[in-house]
């Protein structure tokens, strides 16, 4: 085998396979890292998944893993496996932009807890991935640094906000990635790129060092090409963090064990009435219905559920998330870090702040800051933010009632397949609909996963199946996900991603 073909096959390995080969000595972490760096160099000009590639940092980490192994130390389960980190997590000494001009050039002085845990586990961080500015969007077109292409069709979006992470997986630039999910930013990109993405239970993964969009909804989580890889990564990043007050102080659900023992036999699975109808692409509905049949075939009992408040979820989300973001983004004032515009010695601090925010924030960010500022204003608070919080409670109750009857809920992840770049750029409402099925789980704080369930016949693009579990029952996602994945791979004869065109 030539070095070139070895590299080529190497980047197609799963994270679990790479880790095993490094642990056994068949591969070195440096070799693996170099192969992925070469892949990035070869294809990322077309895909634009990365905003920053940390070649030196990645190789240094890989060398450290190899040295550890050479010294006879036991390696952590994902030691030496490369990963693409969404550019929303702070990385000490490595730029963090959140896809925004306002943080261009900012070098954080500290690591996010997720970053720290990845490093401690020997995971090799290749670089920082593209995203919608401040994670606001469903296409990655809102990045201040240009859009990312969907590896299935580079003229289409890879989803968002974590389009860089999903695209890096689908284009074999990394076997693992980290995303964040406020309204679907892990699951929707996973769905439209034929990859796996998990939004853990709110509080399951520390938010410390994750630049805030909407604090009560934001949740970091694992992205991968297989359910098992996602579980392995989930285990590395999850768990209580004293630096995040909303972090849950309880053992991490047994996700890896669940992913290794996938089964739905005898399980009661819910299908929510509200997750279909107008706006759903026929091919998406078709693949979803087939998935439900597949689950039945695997021994699950499928129950139809009515969750009437889910119809209000999108509206509630677009009040709560902008409200929190209007406050979270107030700190970008040109005083302490990031962009500074108009500081010519004549202008006041107030003017410099205004000019900087005008120049540094993109349209979608401004739109949401304004929406949120309005929704929190006195006289409007009760009607907007207050009502939205009530809807949130209703949605949680609908979930509670549902989970009295079923162990998990399934739905399409997003109503359509990947749309063309530019198609919805000027139509925020159309863009917001991409998160119709994912938002309820954020509002309730549940755990949810998206995994591939086929290609829509009309456009040949991936469709995602969403699985939703109660809070702190993340393991159920993996148990069901692993069973579905195995059944589909058997049916298709290969993982779905192998049908993607080579770049």
């Amino acid at each position: 085998m030539t070095a070139m073909t070895k590299h080529k096959s190497l980047v197609r390995l799963t994270a679990a396979e790479i880790a095993a080969k490094i642990a056994s000595g068949e591969l070195t972490a440096v070799e693996v890292t170099e192969a992925h760096l070469a892949r990035i160099e070869a294809v990322d000009e077309k895909v634009h998944a990365f905003l920053h590639v940390d070649r030196e940092g990645a190789l240094a980490q890989a060398r450290a893993v190899d040295a550890k192994r050479a010294a006879g130390e036991k390696l952590a389960p994902l030691a030496g496996v490369p990963l693409a980190l969404k550019d929303i997590f702070t990385t000490e000494g490595v730029p963090t932009t959140v896809g925004s001009k306002i943080l261009e050039g900012w070098i954080p002085p500290y690591d996010a807890t997720v970053t720290k845990r990845l490093k401690a586990a020997g995971v090799v961080i290749l670089g920082k991935t593209n995203m919608d500015e401040f994670a606001m969007g469903s296409s990655t077109e809102n990045s201040a640094y240009g859009p990312t292409g969907n590896p299935w069709d580079l003229t289409r979006v890879p989803g968002g906000s974590g389009g860089g992470s999903s695209a890096s997986l689908a284009s074999y630039q990394a076997p693992l990635a980290i995303g964040t999910d406020t309204g679907g930013s892990i699951r929707q990109p996973a769905a439209v790129t034929g990859t796996v993405g998990v939004k853990p239970t709110y509080g399951g993964v520390s938010r410390y060092g994750m630049v805030a969009f909407s604090s009560s909804l934001d949740q970091g989580g694992p992205c991968a090409r297989t359910v098992l890889d996602a579980a392995l990564l989930h285990e590395v990043i999850a768990g209580h963090d004293p630096l995040d007050s909303t972090s849950i102080d309880a053992p991490v659900p047994p996700v890896v064990e669940a992913a290794r023992s996938g089964s739905v036999a005898g399980m009661r699975i819910g299908v929510v009435k509200q997750f279909r109808g107008e706006g759903y692409q026929p091919g998406v509905v078709q693949r979803f219905d087939e998935s439900v049949e597949l689950l039945k075939g695997l021994g699950a009992e499928v129950v139809e559920l009515d969750c009437p408040s889910f119809d209000l979820a999108l509206a509630a989300y677009y009040l709560i998330a902008p409200s929190e973001c209007s406050s979270n983004l107030a700190r970008f004032d040109a005083m302490r870090y990031g962009l500074r515009v108009g500081d010519d010695g004549t202008r006041s601090a107030e003017d410099v702040t205004a000019l900087t925010r005008e120049a540094g924030f993109g349209d979608e960010v401004k739109r949401r800051v304004m929406l949120g500022t309005y929704a929190l204003s006195s006289g409007y608070y009760d009607a907007y933010y207050g009502s939205a919080q009530k809807v949130r409670t209703l949605i949680s109750r609908d979930f509670e009632k549902a989970f009295e009857q079923v162990e998990v809920i399934v739905s399409p992840t997003t109503p359509t397949t990947a749309f063309p770049i530019g198609e919805r750029a000027d139509d925020p409402m159309a863009m917001y609909l991409a998160d119709l099925c994912t938002i309820p789980a954020n509002l309730a704080g549940n755990a949810a996963m998206s995994l591939p369930c086929g290609l829509a016949p009309e456009d040949g693009l991936p469709v995602g199946l969403q699985i939703i579990a109660p809070a702190m029952k993340d393991d159920r996602l993996y148990k069901v996900g692993a069973a579905v994945e195995a059944a589909f791979v058997e049916k298709w004869g290969h993982p779905l991603l192998e049908e993607a065109p080579s770049l």
């Binding site: 009560s216 406050s327 700190r331 702040t353 204003s377």
Partner: protein, 502 residues
């Protein structure tokens, strides 16, 4: 700036009834900040006590300081408040460069303590009950220093320096309900309230509450209404009034100013005002045309604070004796008047006196030294009593030397002077300066004989039975011995020599 002709105080009160609201911010004395682990120590290099959280760096998150919550509950309990079973922090949103996140983490409609009162004692002993609306937890801002202007204010400055060491230091904001019915005593009530609150905070051990260091800051809200009117008038908010005397003066000035404006047919503008120490006046600050919209909402980065009842009761049981109760007890123990106790309180002498008594001195002696010689010295040097370079133990030692006859008052004063001058402890000063009372008869005898010889006329009077004249001879001996003689013994020796034979 319009110069207002103030209305005489009595005239203002004759026409109007003042209503006050006092907002006091107390910086807690916790070792670390309210939401991060940074030190709260004073005097550090600018921006050296900061971290991603208190600098508001992207991605950083707050974690509540448990001691901060405990201190807030203690203050609430001491103010007879109800303690919330469940409350949340809220974000108060507004832009200012010294506020790192451009929102202050505070509490809004769910304060940790509410509905309390504080009884304050006025100078004549009258008790005035001030009702407490709430006490809530929040964080301090950084400090802006405006450079290049004449006044140190932002107006006219060429640039500003920001120090975030103070950002995130825990604050408790204590807000009174409208204080009504104080009438002409409103300024006195304001001062007495802040003084009592300061004593309370110190007694709880949650802060040193030093106003001159900004550890306790007071905003005085004041309005006037015609007598008999129920509706409050428009208020002014005089910010950062930072001494007890200033609180009183600010309230008084505002009463006179409001009365002047209202009396000439004008209207009071709701605005913040700056207080000026130099002349006790206030000047207009920011106009608050409408209530500023802080867009409060519950802080999503923190979980609710739900202090278990058992813990609250434990804290209640552990509260120290409250200052007013303690003062009354001490006053009775020491057998002094309300007025004397008030003077002692005003002089900041309670703790030094208690400590001196604790070191063995009789109460009257301890009081005498701290309220006499030492208070004078404190006054002259402009330092608080408890910062004088003399300890209660040293004062007690001086008192003991007087009691044993080793020193008389005059010598004792010299010993204290020596201690204050850094010459050592009382015994060292006595030895170095040679200040022992002379009571040795042979040494004194010569001085007495000299005095008799030099004052023959006086001596004759004594011989003639006018014993009262002996004072003049005692004085002469004391003078000759530079005050070191034991005056009682001198008198005995004089009378032995001159008393008419029985």
């Amino acid at each position: 700036m319009t110069v207002i002709e103030l209305v005489p105080y009595e005239d203002a009160l004759a026409a109007y009834d003042p209503v006050m609201g006092l907002e006091v911010h107390v910086e807690l004395g916790t070792k670390t900040k309210m939401f991060c682990g940074c030190s709260t120590g004073l005097g550090a290099e600018p921006n050296s006590q900061t971290c991603p959280t208190c600098l508001g760096m992207p991605g950083s998150l707050p974690v509540v300081n448990a001691i901060g919550v405990e201190s807030a509950i203690k203050i609430g309990l001491a103010l007879n408040c109800e303690i919330a079973e469940w409350c949340r922090f809220a974000r108060k949103n507004y832009f200012y460069p010294d506020m790192p996140k451009n929102f202050q983490t505070s509490q809004y409609d769910e304060p940790i303590a509410y509905n309390g009162y504080l009884d304050v004692q006025l100078e004549d002993g009258e008790i005035f009950r001030v009702h407490i609306e709430r006490a809530h937890m929040e964080e301090d801002t950084g400090k802006s220093t405006h450079v290049g202007g004449a006044t140190g204010r932002i107006h006219g400055a060429s640039h500003s320096l920001l120090d975030y060491n103070r950002a995130g230091i825990p604050l408790i904001e204590i807000v009174t309900k409208p204080i009504e019915g104080a009438g002409e005593r409103a300024p006195e009530v304001a001062k007495a309230y802040v003084a009592e609150l300061r004593e309370l905070i110190k007694a709880l051990g949650v802060s040193e509450a030093r106003m001159e260091m900004g550890q306790m800051r007071c905003d005085v809200n004041l309005s006037l209404r015609p007598h008999g009117q129920e509706k409050f008038g428009t208020r002014s908010e005089t910010k950062n009034v930072n001494s007890l005397r200033s609180v009183e003066r600010a309230a008084r000035f505002e009463i006179q100013r409001h009365a002047a404006v209202l009396g000439s047919g004008g209207t009071i503008i709701q605005e913040t005002r700056h207080f000026h120490e130099e002349d006790g006046s206030t000047t207009a600050g920011r106009v608050k045309e409408e209530a500023e919209d802080y867009r409060y909402f519950p802080e999503p980065d923190l979980v609710p604070v739900a202090p278990p009842r058992e813990w609250v009761e434990e804290l209640r049981a552990g509260l120290p004796e409250l200052p007013r109760v303690r003062r009354n007890r001490l006053r009775e123990e020491w057998g002094i008047s309300e007025h004397d106790m008030q003077s002692i309180l005003n002089a900041g002498a309670i703790e030094p006196i208690v400590a001196t008594i604790g070191a063995g001195a009789p109460a009257d002696q301890a009081r005498k030294w701290w309220m006499g010689e030492l208070a004078r010295h404190a006054n002259e040097t402009g330092r608080p009593l408890d910062e004088l370079p003399i300890t209660p133990e040293q004062v007690a030692r001086v008192a003991a030397l007087v009691a044993s006859g080793d020193l008389n008052d005059k010598l004792a004063r010299q010993v204290i002077e020596g201690v204050l001058a850094g010459e050592g402890d009382p015994d060292t000063v006595v030895e170095k300066r040679g200040l022992k009372v002379l009571s040795d008869d042979s040494a004194l005898g010569a001085a007495v004989d000299e005095a008799i010889a030099a004052n023959a006329a006086v001596a004759d009077k004594i011989r003639a039975g006018k014993v009262a004249a002996a004072g003049a001879l005692v004085g002469a001996v004391m003078k000759a011995t530079r005050g070191q003689a034991d005056a009682a013994r001198v008198r005995e020796l004089i009378l032995e020599r001159l008393a008419p034979a029985e």
